[in-house]
Symmetry: C2
């Protein structure tokens, strides 16, 4: 199959490139309810392409109050051939040009081989790579494997509803191998394959003090300022050594074994370099007993995503504000459960809240557990070979600091070998301004998927 | 003079009440440059009224890049009669209904004897009270004193330009007594006369970390989060006992004498009650060695006016932000200088800044010193008598926690006895939502000013 399918993918590339533009123009922001119709528009766009290429059962699945999932399949290889389930997502984070973008976030703009748009790298390039690979394989004829594709529309807003869908549709989604296609390689040249993901939990701290904003002259010095009280609480969430100081936070964390530290060792130097390039931060920070790479790969975190309170406008307003809010998320590592962390966080904040303010801690997302893959599985070996052929370089092994909340759910309900196949890159600005994907990586991604299907068929 | 002038004020009240509506409809927000024309409109409105009642030299004074001062006078009592200079301001803080107002902030709305509008209590009620008293005195004929009225348009935005005007116009402004008419009585019933004001300095802390917003999964745990770093800095600005922990902060502060503590003693219980009513905070906070009233009257503060950084919108955005900002102001007590405090703040923040972030501390306003009046001066005694007659209750003595930055400048350049004559009240919501003035206090205020002029003339 390989060479013919690769030729079909190559011939179809101009159309594939145009499709990337099309889907990036749809502001499918799942975290902002007013964009629900845009999310639905993107879902319909995917269904159309699936039907056009000859996939079956292509349709959206939507329950009341939820954004649609898209599912389509091609099962023509027959019951004895391996079945692969592909998962990716088509929803995106919010973005406005005024955030500091150089281009309009929903008008895709190609500059020097990179395509700039919200969702370019997270994760619409994966939608297009995966469907383009299936399309090439179908055009080549006689695919050696069966394919199922599931695209989510709520990945950026907590993935809460896909859990139920997966639980209720285990037969529909049944597969030998499940490919999670999201996330990033460190750069365009050296593939790094992740065998683990961090989980996530998010919450808000609301501090309330006086019943309304006060004049800072009339009452300042006699009222606990909610911004100050919030800052004092936040300052008690980390120890000076960079570790999280919430009691119980590390209770469920397995120590990093010497064997795994050795597996991850080749990642240290490249991550140090990536860290300097991408972050531009004045100096590293965090737990000194761990390399920078280990801090994001194998250690849990507690991160401030936002803070607000009082006057944030131009000039001076001498107000003593009535409230202040912090938005926080934690990244979890294997064996930590969201419910345990949530209980630890609630108890700690309650314990450190002074009597001079009222504090509410609100869980915003139920959260997702971290996930780890058997590095020695057949599917993981097929992934390694596919990237080696697609990139011409032997991949390194790593663990990913980001979260793909559905991974644990797929693993729980589907008896499939799980693998991660990302085609984004770290400089892609996911969740930030000037998000972009590398168009060379899009082409390599399509080729890599075709190699993966060939190796899987050979293994069978 | 008294009874005739009082009768004139009473007869003119419906027109005075209408004038209050007129000036409150003008959004003369001096802290927002786009409202400069509204500030000028309010200035012209004052000039018109001054001319209408027969004051002379009534005009605006404006230099390039500055908002206008309004000055007018009536010197018909002759060189041997006492001359009184009245100072107040006609500019206001920002306000939008969406901040939580029950009514439109620039559409004055009367409810149960209170008039709701931005600037109602701070300080347009004073503009109207002062001009209505002068008008009544002029209508009564043969006023026993000379009057000068100066209204500022930049009080809410730092009062920087009036300094130069006062310095350059000491002859024009020359007076025996200078009345600062701004600020608040605790309530409608019990006048409290302030013999001191706190000063002010304002600044911002800008924390910068990574060069752009990062994905909290990709780099979280290896980069010092700017919101967290800012919270850690803020938490080191106060000690657990509520005192400011900036080294040198209290160096210039005189200890509270037993004699003054006794003078202020009657304020304790009423302020405790006011504090409970107005703040509604869960519990008092601050320096335990001082009563709640002393904390705001005789102690300096460092107050958080605003904070922002990262994502403050709806839902979740798992960003590790590139920066965070806090807006802070300090209230100063007598003998503290803004420059000394600024040096202390800069050194302290530099000393506690970790190497993992960059911090800029930016002075937003040059600031103003605190101010204290001789409680035994003749003018202070005239003020006491005037309020006793106007209110029918003996006033208490106190010191004010707010700041009127020009006071120190008037004292420096004009060889006049300074007094404070406020007619606002603490429940007036100055600098907050639902700002309002009490219309009964407006009428008593006009009467009190007429009593004051009578007593001054009798003293002469």
């Amino acid at each position: 199959m390989t060479s013919i399918a690769h030729n079909h993918a190559e011939a179809a590339y101009p159309r594939t490139r145009a499709r990337l533009d099309e889907i990036l123009r749809i502001p499918s922001i799942s975290t902002v309810p007013s964009h629900a119709d845009d999310v639905r528009r993107a879902a319909a766009w995917i269904v159309d392409w699936m039907l056009e290429m000859g996939m079956t059962h292509a349709q959206t699945h939507e329950s009341a109050g939820r954004l649609p999932l898209v599912y389509g399949e091609w099962l023509g290889a027959g019951p004895d051939a391996p079945t692969v389930l592909i998962y990716t997502h088509y929803d995106v984070q919010p973005a406005e040009k005024s955030d500091g973008w150089a281009t309009e976030p929903f008008i895709p703009t190609e500059i020097d081989g990179k395509l700039y748009a919200r969702g370019a790298v997270d994760s619409k390039c994966h939608v297009v790579i995966q469907l383009a690979a299936v399309e090439a394989m179908l055009k080549a004829g006689n695919p050696p494997i069966n394919i199922k594709v599931l695209c989510e529309g709520e990945e950026e807003s907590g993935s809460e509803h896909i859990y139920e869908f997966v639980a209720n549709n285990a037969d529909l989604l049944k597969a030998d191998v499940c490919v999670i296609s999201d996330g990033s390689l460190p750069n365009e040249h050296q593939p790094v394959l992740d065998y683990g993901l961090r989980g996530i939990i998010s919450f808000e701290i609301h501090v309330r003090g006086p019943k309304r904003d006060l004049h800072s002259g009339h009452y300042g010095g006699s009222v606990h300022n909610p911004i100050q009280a919030l800052a004092e609480i936040i300052s008690q969430l980390h120890a000076p050594d960079g570790s999280v100081s919430v009691p119980g936070f590390y209770e469920q964390v397995e120590p990093l074994s010497d064997e795994e530290r050795t597996v991850l060792l080749p990642m240290r130097a490249p991550f140090d370099e990536e860290w300097r390039d991408v972050t531009g931060a004045p100096a590293p920070w965090g737990e000194a007993d761990y390399s920078l790479h280990e801090r994001i790969a194998v250690r849990p975190t507690l991160e401030l995503n936002g803070i607000y309170g009082g006057y944030a406008g131009e000039g001076v307003k001498t107000v003593l504000p009535s409230s202040a809010v912090a938005k926080i998320s934690c990244r979890l590592v294997p064996y930590q459960t969201p419910d345990h962390l949530w209980a630890c966080i609630q108890s700690h904040i309650t314990a450190i809240t002074p009597p001079s303010v009222l504090v509410d801690v609100i869980r915003v997302e139920m959260g997702a557990e971290a996930f780890i893959i058997d590095r020695e599985s057949a599917a993981m070996k097929a992934v390694t070979t596919a990237y080696e052929r697609g990139w011409g370089v032997k991949p390194l092994l790593s663990r990913e600091g980001g979260s793909i909340p559905v991974t644990a759910e797929f693993n729980k309900y589907l008896n499939a070998q799980m693998v991660l196949m990302p085609f984004g890159y770290k400089n892609g600005g996911a969740h930030s301004i000037n998000e972009n994907c590398d168009l060379g990586m899009v082409r390599k991604g399509i080729d890599t998927m075709l190699h993966f299907y060939t190796v899987l068929a050979e293994q069978a």
